[in-house]
Symmetry: C2
Subunit: 147 residues, 2 copies
DNA sequence: ACGCTCGTACGATAGGCATCGTAGTACGGA
DNA sequence: TCCGTACTACGATGCCTATCGTACGAGCGT
């Protein structure tokens, strides 16, 4: 079906169906420096972090909430610390999205997996972005419509 | 299917499947003030704009590009001004997402539909957000990996 | 009036993704 | 050693959405 029918003119158009891989949602997760435990998790290197992926990661209410709590704490929090209204499977999924987009860093610490914001990386790449998003989220949460 | 099987405990969980309407992706588009032409388009009122929707709208490369050009121009641009590598149908779709999320304002001007950033609304609701996103996009576009 | 251009609406297609459940692995304590 | 806790992997489900094509509506120019 790819090259079948009647393209408007000679213009090179995207293949029909799907979004044709335009999104930068695959940071080619390549870990840079080994940390401590035997179980290591793939993180995008700082230069691999894509703005679109970060915005996408933050556009989910669940994940935005997690990021807000991480920012409020400042340090590292275990996955189980968060009381999200979803199952643990889904929680794992959200944390992975945050990690693979470069928003958080995850490290195994015994049985627990500790999560920390990649503040310096994000601030270095996108100055002011994280702060304005956090401020916006706080402001919106304080609005009447949002409780 | 709702109350069929084996919920972990008494905890009220989301219905299986789907994301259970958690996302704020339906700003209940209620136009506030009629403008000029007979053909009017539904825009979310300023207070209806949700941070998650804005971030989601900006997380698409196509739409981010449109927003960057609108910001660079400062004024209003017609839809046809943009030379996106997709068909007109898809272009219309993206502009609608931007409008319904509150990022742009669309007004019919003859046969053309003019698009303008809702700068004051966005800056009022989320101070610094748009600027940091634009700066981040510009910085990323200047990075070696991005050409 | 006629057509041209701009943009919409609608339906189809296909991959994305948020969610769940179940089963399994890793680590630490009893 | 055995069990409990923390988290993962995998498959299923069902909506979301980016994309296309075609057919249509609304203005402007001739």
């Amino acid at each position: 079906m790819e090259s079948s029918g009647a393209q408007p003119e000679g213009v090179l158009r995207r293949r029909p169906g799907h979004k044709a891989g335009v999104e930068g949602l695959e940071p080619a997760v390549t870990t840079a420096a080994p940390t401590s435990s035997s179980r290591d998790l793939p993180h995008p290197a700082r230069e691999e972090i894509r703005l679109e992926s970060v915005l996408h990661a933050l556009s989910d209410p669940m994940r935005l909430q997690v990021v807000r709590e991480l920012a409020a704490d400042g340090g590292e929090l275990s996955c189980s610390h968060f009381d999200l209204p979803v199952t643990k499977s889904t929680t794992t999924h959200h944390f992975r999205v945050l990690r693979e987009s470069g928003v958080i860093r995850q490290v195994y610490r015994g049985t627990a997996k500790m999560n920390g914001l990649r503040r310096s990386d994000l601030d270095g790449l996108f100055p002011g972005l994280l702060d304005s998003v956090l401020a916006a989220a706080a402001g919106q949460a304080a609005r009447p419509v949002d409780g």
